[in-house]
């Protein structure tokens, strides 16, 4: 069972992100701690568990600048076997199509049974790369999965929908995107960390994948990033609960008119 996991390096959930005024669409990176996208971690963990149960190899792949190799090394330390970085330098900022085309080309260089990735990256929050890769490769996909069982070339997935779940059966190879709840990702062991440091990370460029810059031109272009409007100063009620509770209900009803 060979599994390819698509990962992205993103700012930590607790990071304060600020727009970079000198580069539209980008954030100020200095001082930011980068992590493996949390949803991708579930995908990596699931791939390693499948390898442990059924054998095979786990390849992790990312599109990103050299700093994103750190994310790949985290995945290697968790137990992935190989890592590939697709280097977009020299290209305009990629959109979902750009990412997906690079990944689809690179994934198809070697045979695989399953592609896993997070249901969305917590930076752009688009949540479509895995699905795009599936479509480009002519494969089915199942998104936002919280349970995955593989038998006889098929996967049975539990997929989260609003207020409920679906049970979905899909023939492999397929793309499955991971939702929180799929598993509990392991912390890399010290030995894993040491080994990961020495591993070679394969770097591929768009031209080495036969992709011209023209094909990667974005159809989704961020013109501006800005902070959301600040909220006004609120009213703080202190004192006996019997009084504050009644006052709160009055304010919600008469002033805010929300109940």
């Amino acid at each position: 069972m060979n599994v390819v996991v698509l990962v992205k390096q993103v700012p930590d959930t607790e990071a304060t992100v600020r727009p970079d005024n000198s580069a539209p669409g980008r954030i100020v990176e200095s001082g930011i701690k980068f992590i493996v996208n949390p949803y991708d971690e579930f995908a990596v963990e699931e791939a390693i568990r499948l390898k442990e149960a059924k054998g095979g190899r786990v390849v992790v792949m990312t599109v990103g600048p050299p700093r994103s190799e750190e994310a790949l090394r985290t995945c290697l330390a968790m137990g992935a076997d190989d890592a590939v970085r697709l280097d977009p330098s020299g290209l305009p900022d990629l959109d979902t199509f750009g990412y997906a085309q690079l990944l689809a080309k690179a994934v198809s260089l070697d045979p695989f049974d399953l592609i896993l990735c997070g249901k969305q990256a917590i930076d752009d929050d688009i949540g479509a790369v895995g699905t795009f890769v599936a479509e480009l490769l002519g494969l089915p996909h199942v998104a936002v999965v919280t349970k995955l069982e593989i038998t006889n070339g098929k996967a049975v997935c539990r997929k989260e929908i609003d207020g409920g779940t679906q049970k979905v059966e899909v023939q492999l190879p397929a793309v499955v995107t991971a939702q929180k709840g799929l598993n509990e990702p392991r912390y890399p062991a010290l030995r894993g960390l040491m080994l990961a440091k020495k591993k070679e990370i394969k770097v591929l460029t768009p031209s080495s994948l036969g992709l011209a810059a023209d094909a990667l031109r974005p159809v989704y272009q961020v013109e501006q990033l800005e902070a959301p409007p600040a909220r006004g100063k609120g009213k703080i009620l202190q004192g006996e609960p019997e009084v504050t509770a009644v006052e709160l209900v009055r304010l919600l009803r008469e002033e805010a008119k929300v109940i």
């Binding site: 479509e135 002519g138 159809v219 909220r231 609120g234 009213k235 509770a245 919600l252 009803r253």
Partner: protein
């Protein structure tokens, strides 16, 4: 008339979902200056009640794809159906609600049609005939203004509870056009075996107008019943912070924040939630925020419109009782 804006009509129990009606409203707004009309894609069931409701909110034409293979919403199958509809109607813009299934379907459809995709948008406008959207990124820590390439027609999903549901109007029923569609290769390899709903009568956190959320201050799973009672009374949903979910008190379906749901209800009541950055990101675009917390220094008070400093175990039941009195 010049072209159409197409809305995917997502239904539940035979009626269009609220997020769909909101999308129709947004579609009517952008269609007018284009001289376009609003059409809907109704897939899966021949449903007169849904067609009538869509007509009431401004849909002029309904493209319908029916068949047993569309009983469950499955994005590959529904992409085949929408692709057939698009071939038939050549829309200029495709809209849907940013529901779980809307986000999933929009991604597959965008990949199929090679169209620009913007998910979970909170504003939609036309500039020089390009569609320009605003969407929260980094779970709402920032907002991005994005220009979408107009050919092929861009696909935009709209965050629930942001765009108003249009007022019902009386008028002619929409024209219904039946479209046939063959399944693609990937669709034949995937099947939904079962769809089940777990939240019962309560709306999902992502589309509830009122959300009552609990955090670490709830002290344990049993105490969420307090919040459920208040939420039920208000017709809302129960949310939870990451720490409450990670502690196993609530299912992840309820989580609000950067690794949960990013939401914009009319009223968000945060109980025993301190207000970590990743949580604030997920709820600070709510229209009205109430915080109930015993720590006056809690971060959550910085975004609250109304804060109550006090013991939630005393305040919440009193609030519930007071609202009951008024009803």
């Amino acid at each position: 008339m010049s072209g159409q804006v197409l809305v995917w009509a997502e239904t539940k129990d035979g009626a269009p979902r609220r997020a769909t009606l909101e999308a129709v409203g947004a579609a009517c707004k952008v269609a007018a200056p284009l001289g376009a009309s609003v059409a809907a894609a109704l897939i899966g069931e021949a449903n007169d009640r849904a067609i009538q409701r869509l007509g009431e909110v401004g849909v002029k034409q309904v493209y319908r794809v029916t068949g047993p293979e569309f009983t469950h919403v499955e994005p590959c199958h529904y992409t085949d159906a929408l692709q057939a509809i698009c071939t038939h109607s050549s829309p200029r813009l495709i809209l849907m609600g940013a529901t779980a299934l809307g986000k999933d379907l929009s991604a597959r459809l965008a990949a199929r049609l090679r169209a620009a995709l913007a998910t979970d948008c909170i504003a939609l406008a036309l500039a020089d005939k390009h569609v320009v959207v605003t969407r929260p990124v980094f779970a709402g820590k920032l907002r991005a203004r994005v220009a979408l390439s107009s050919s092929p027609a861009p696909i935009v999903t709209l965050r629930p509870n942001v765009f108003p549901v249009p007022e019902s109007q009386t008028g002619g029923a929409p024209e219904v056009v039946d479209v046939s569609c063959a399944l693609s290769e990937p669709s034949r390899k995937v099947a939904v075996l079962e769809t089940s709903y777990t939240t019962g009568e309560m709306p999902d956190v992502s589309e509830a107008e009122i959300v009552v959320s609990g955090g670490r201050g709830m002290k344990g799973p049993e105490n969420f019943a307090l919040l459920a009672e208040l939420a039920r009374l208000l017709g809302g949903a129960v949310g939870a912070s990451r720490s409450a979910v990670d502690a196993g008190w609530m299912d992840h379906q309820h989580q609000v924040g950067q690794t949960g749901k990013t939401i914009s209800p009319n009223l968000y009541i945060a109980c025993g939630i301190s207000g970590a950055t990743q949580h604030l990101a997920g709820m600070s675009s709510s229209k009205c925020i109430v915080a109930i917390n015993k720590d006056p220094e809690a971060n959550i008070f910085k975004v609250a419109d109304y804060g109550v400093v006090g013991d939630l175990f005393k305040v919440v039941p009193l609030v519930t009782a007071e609202i009951k009195k008024l009803k």
